[in-house]
C-alpha cells in the first residue's frame, strides 16, 4: 500500500493503463507538456510520447468525435475534458455516437472509451468550472457512469473503466484531488469489487445516507457527528451512477427504514430523484419516514463566494438526518456539531 492523493492515484492508473496496453491513448487539452491543468497527466507525455498522450486542438466535440474513430480502429482512448462545464460541446458526440454505436451496429462495434471529467464544486472556481452534469449521462442509455471518492477507488475504478468494452464517463471530484489515502498499486483487478457495485462506506442502523463523489466524505463526517448524539448512520458510496447498485441501497434502507440522499447537482430530475423513486418502489413497506434529498438548489452554480450556500455541507446533511429521524424542529443535530460554524452561516 502506498499513500497517494487522489490525483496521484489517477496518474498512476493512467500510467499503468498506458504501459499495459499500447492501444490505450490519452487525448485532451493541455494534457501533454503541461501535464493537465490539475497535473493529473504530469510526465505521461514524456514517458509515453506525443503519439499516445495527445494535446488536441481546443474543441471538445472534436476530441470525443475523433476518439470514436480511434475506437473504431481498435484503440482505447481515454479522453480528458478539462472541466465539467466544458463537456457540453461534446454532448452530441457522447449521446448520439459514443452511447449508441454498439446498439446501432447490433453489437458489432465496441466503444471502449473513458471520458474523464474533473468534476463538481467547492473549490472556489470561476463560472462553468463547478458543474455536476452526471444526471445527463446517467439518463443516457449506453453509457456507464462512475464517480470515485477515495484514491484507492479512483485507481481501481479507472483501470476497470479502461478495461471495460463499454464507454465510461469517469467523474473525478476535484475537491478531493489533493486528499490522501492508501492505494494498493499492485492489486489484481480481478480481486477488486466490480465497477458497478456500491460500497457501504460505514455501517449504521438508524438511517442511511446515500451519496457519491466528494459528499461521501461529508457524509462520513456527518456520521461521526451523529455518533456523538448516539445516532448510528450508515453511509453508502454509490460509486456507479449508471447502472446503480440499488440492491446494496435497498438492503441498507430495509435495515434502517430511513434515508437521506445527497448530491451537489440540482435537485429537479437529479440522480437523487432516481434513488428516492427506486427506494420507494423497492422498500415501500420498510420506509418509516419519507426519504429526504439534500442537493444543490435548482439554480445555476452560484458565484464561488456563495457556493457554500449551494453545495450540501455537513449541516445540511444533519438537518436532513434529523428530518428522517423525525426529531423535532430540525437543527437538532446540526446546530450542536462542532463543525456547524463552517457550514451554512
Amino acid at each position: 500500500m502506498t499513500a497517494l492523493t487522489m490525483g496521484a492515484a489517477i496518474t498512476a492508473a493512467l500510467a499503468r493503463s498506458l504501459a499495459d496496453d499500447d492501444r490505450v491513448l490519452l487525448m485532451g487539452e493541455d494534457i501533454g507538456r503541461l501535464g493537465g491543468v490539475f497535473r493529473v497527466t504530469d510526465g505521461l507525455q514524456q514517458r509515453f510520447g506525443a503519439q499516445r498522450v495527445v494535446d488536441t486542438p481546443l474543441a471538445e466535440a472534436g476530441i470525443v468525435g475523433t476518439a470514436v474513430g480511434l475506437a473504431l480502429r481498435g484503440y482505447r482512448p481515454i479522453v480528458e475534458i478539462q472541466f465539467d462545464g466544458f463537456v457540453y460541446p461534446a454532448f452530441d458526440q457522447i449521446v448520439c455516437q459514443v452511447a449508441k454505436l454498439h446498439y446501432r451496429s447490433n453489437g458489432r462495434i465496441r466503444m471502449p472509451m473513458v471520458i474523464r471529467i474533473p468534476w463538481a464544486g467547492g473549490v472556489g472556481a470561476a463560472e462553468h468550472h463547478s458543474e455536476s452534469p452526471e444526471a445527463y449521462f446517467a439518463h443516457t442509455a449506453g453509457l456507464r457512469v462512475v464517480a470515485a471518492s477515495t484514491p484507492q477507488d479512483a485507481y481501481v475504478m479507472l483501470r476497470q473503466a479502461v478495461a471495460s468494452d463499454d464507454p465510461v464517463v469517469f467523474f473525478e471530484p476535484k475537491r478531493l484531488y489533493h486528499s490522501k489515502g492508501e492505494v494498493d498499486l499492485d492489486a489484481d483487478l480481478a480481486d477488486a469489487p466490480p465497477l458497478h457495485l456500491a460500497r457501504v462506506a460505514r455501517e449504521g442502523t438508524d438511517a442511511t445516507i446515500v451519496t457519491y463523489g466528494a459528499l461521501v466524505r461529508t457524509a462520513l463526517d456527518a456520521a461521526l457527528a451523529a455518533e456523538d448524539e448516539g445516532i448510528s448512520l450508515e453511509v453508502i458510496d454509490l460509486r456507479s451512477l449508471s447502472p446503480m447498485d440499488l440492491t446494496t441501497v435497498a438492503a441498507s434502507v430495509r435495515k434502517t427504514g430511513r434515508v437521506v440522499v445527497a448530491h451537489e447537482a440540482a435537485r429537479q430530475a437529479g440522480l437523487g430523484a432516481e434513488i428516492v423513486a427506486s427506494i420507494t418502489e423497492r422498500c415501500f413497506h420498510h420506509l418509516e419516514a419519507p426519504p429526504e434529498r439534500v442537493t444543490g438548489h435548482d439554480i445555476p452554480y452560484p458565484p464561488s463566494k456563495l457556493e457554500k450556500h449551494h453545495v450540501p455541507d455537513l449541516d445540511r446533511l444533519l438537518y436532513a438526518v434529523d428530518a428522517v429521524l423525525e426529531r423535532t424542529s430540525g437543527h437538532a443535530l446540526s446546530a450542536r456539531t462542532p463543525t456547524a460554524t463552517e457550514g451554512a452561516r
Binding site: 468525435g65 475523433t66 474513430g69 484503440y75 460541446p89 454498439h102 447490433n106 466503444m111 471495460s164
Partner: protein
C-alpha cells in the same frame, strides 16, 4: 500577410446576393475539373489525367456497371417505399458518379464513413442486399456488417461522421499502415461545427483522411447558398487542407481526384478535400416534395448532365461498351434489385426482447432484469389468452 481583398483571391467571386434570394449554386457549376464533358466527350486535364491513364477497359466497365447497379438499387428503394415495404428512402439518383468513382479508387483496407445517401459507396464496398434496406424498413439501425465492407454505419446526425473518419485516420497513422479514411457528407453538412472541427484535427495531425463533399446543391429545401457564399472547395485551404472542385457527375474525374487524394494520404501528406459538384435528382427522401422549393427547369438542366448517360456515351464511342455488355449490366441490375426486394420483403421482425440487446458490451444486471420483466409481461398476455 494581408487578406484585404473584399472578395477572396483564390476562387470565383462569392455571389453578393442576399440570403433571401437564393441561387441554385455557389460558383459556376462548370468551374470544376473534369475529363468528360456532359455529352461524353473526353477532354484533357493536366491535373486529373495522370491518375487515370492506366484504367483498363475492365475497370471502366466495372465503374459503369456499379453506377448502373446503384441507380437500379436506388429505384428499387423508392419503389419499395412506395409499396409500403420501407418506411423511408433517401434517393441518390444523379450522384452515382461521385459515389462509385471515389469508392472504386479505394483499397480494401481503407474505411469509409458514409451519410444516409451513399448507397453507391456501400455497393462498391460489397454490401449484402439486406444492408441497403433493413434500416429503412425499421428492422435494424444498421444492417451493414462494417467489418466485411470497411464502412461505418451510415450517419444521420449531419457531419458527425467526419470526426470519426479523422479519428480512424489518426489510428491508421499510429499503426504505421497506409490505410486511409474517407468521410462522405453533403453541402449542408459543411455548416456544422463537427465538419469544421474535423478539418482542424485532420490538418493539425496530418491525418490520412479524405473529405468527400457531395455538393448536390440542396440540403432538403435549402439551396447551397444558405450554407455558404463561397465555393465549398475554397473552405479547406484555409484549414491547411488542399482541395479540388471536381465535376461530381464525371466518374473519371472522381476516380482521378480520389486517387490524387489517397496518394497524398498514403504518402503521409495528410488530408485532402474534394467538392464534387453534382445534383440530387430526386426528393430529399421519399417524404419530401421538392416541387415546393425548386423548379422543374433546374432539374431538367441537370438531367442533361447525367453521370451514367455521359459515361455510357464515352464508353460506347471508345468501343469499351456495346449493346450486349449493356444488356448484361441491365440484367445484373435487375438481379440485384430482385435480391434487395427479396431481402426486404422476406425480412422478419426480431423478437421483442431483442430491443434490450447490445446496449452494453459487458454484462448489465439492471438491464437484464428489465428484459426479463418485459418478457414476463409479454408472456402474461399469452397466459391470459390461454385461460
Amino acid at each position: 500577410m494581408t487578406y484585404t481583398q473584399t472578395q477572396p483571391d483564390h476562387g470565383p467571386a462569392a455571389p453578393g446576393t442576399p440570403a433571401d434570394a437564393p441561387r441554385a449554386s455557389v460558383g459556376d457549376v462548370d468551374d470544376v475539373v473534369r475529363v468528360l464533358e456532359p455529352d461524353g466527350t473526353r477532354v484533357p486535364d493536366a491535373v486529373l489525367d495522370p491518375w487515370i491513364a492506366d484504367l483498363s477497359p475492365h475497370e471502366l466497365r466495372a465503374l459503369h456497371r456499379d453506377m448502373v447497379l446503384t441507380r437500379r438499387l436506388d429505384a428499387e428503394g423508392v419503389a419499395l417505399q412506395r409499396q409500403g415495404q420501407l418506411a423511408l428512402w433517401a434517393p441518390c439518383r444523379g450522384q452515382e458518379a461521385v459515389q462509385i468513382g471515389t469508392a472504386h479508387a479505394l483499397a480494401a483496407g481503407d474505411f469509409v464513413f458514409p451519410s444516409y445517401r451513399e448507397h453507391g459507396v456501400l455497393l462498391a464496398r460489397g454490401a449484402r442486399p439486406e444492408g441497403y434496406v433493413l434500416a429503412w424498413r425499421g428492422e435494424e439501425h444498421s444492417a451493414y456488417d462494417h467489418t466485411t465492407i470497411n464502412a461505418a454505419p451510415p450517419q444521420i446526425i449531419i457531419g458527425a461522421q467526419t470526426l470519426h473518419a479523422t479519428g480512424w485516420a489518426m489510428g491508421a497513422q499510429r499503426d504505421g499502415s497506409d490505410d486511409v479514411a474517407v468521410a462522405y457528407f453533403g453541402d449542408g453538412a459543411t455548416s456544422q461545427g463537427d465538419v469544421n472541427e474535423a478539418m482542424v484535427f485532420a490538418s493539425t495531425f496530418r491525418a490520412p483522411v479524405v473529405f468527400v463533399c457531395s455538393n448536390n446543391q440542396w440540403a432538403i429545401s435549402e439551396p447551397v447558398t444558405v450554407q455558404t457564399k463561397y465555393p465549398i472547395a475554397g473552405r479547406a485551404p484555409g484549414f491547411g487542407i488542399p482541395s479540388l472542385r471536381i465535376d461530381g457527375n464525371d466518374v473519371l474525374a472522381c476516380v482521378a481526384a480520389m486517387r490524387w487524394a489517397l496518394d497524398r494520404a498514403r504518402r503521409g501528406e495528410g488530408p485532402s478535400f474534394l467538392e464534387a459538384v453534382t445534383y440530387r435528382m430526386g426528393p430529399h427522401t421519399t417524404s419530401d416534395d421538392p416541387t415546393r422549393y425548386r423548379t422543374s427547369e433546374e432539374v431538367d438542366s441537370w438531367a442533361q448532365r447525367d453521370p451514367i448517360a455521359r459515361f455510357e456515351a464515352y464508353l460506347c464511342a471508345e468501343g469499351v461498351l456495346d449493346d450486349s455488355a449493356l444488356a448484361e449490366v441491365a440484367a445484373a441490375a435487375d438481379t440485384l434489385a430482385a435480391e434487395v426486394r427479396a431481402a426486404c420483403i422476406g425480412a422478419t421482425t426480431r423478437a421483442p426482447e431483442t430491443v434490450f440487446d447490445h446496449v452494453y458490451a459487458e454484462p448489465h444486471a439492471a438491464l437484464a432484469q428489465q428484459k426479463a420483466d418485459y418478457a414476463q409481461y409479454l408472456a402474461g398476455f399469452a397466459t391470459e389468452d390461454a385461460r
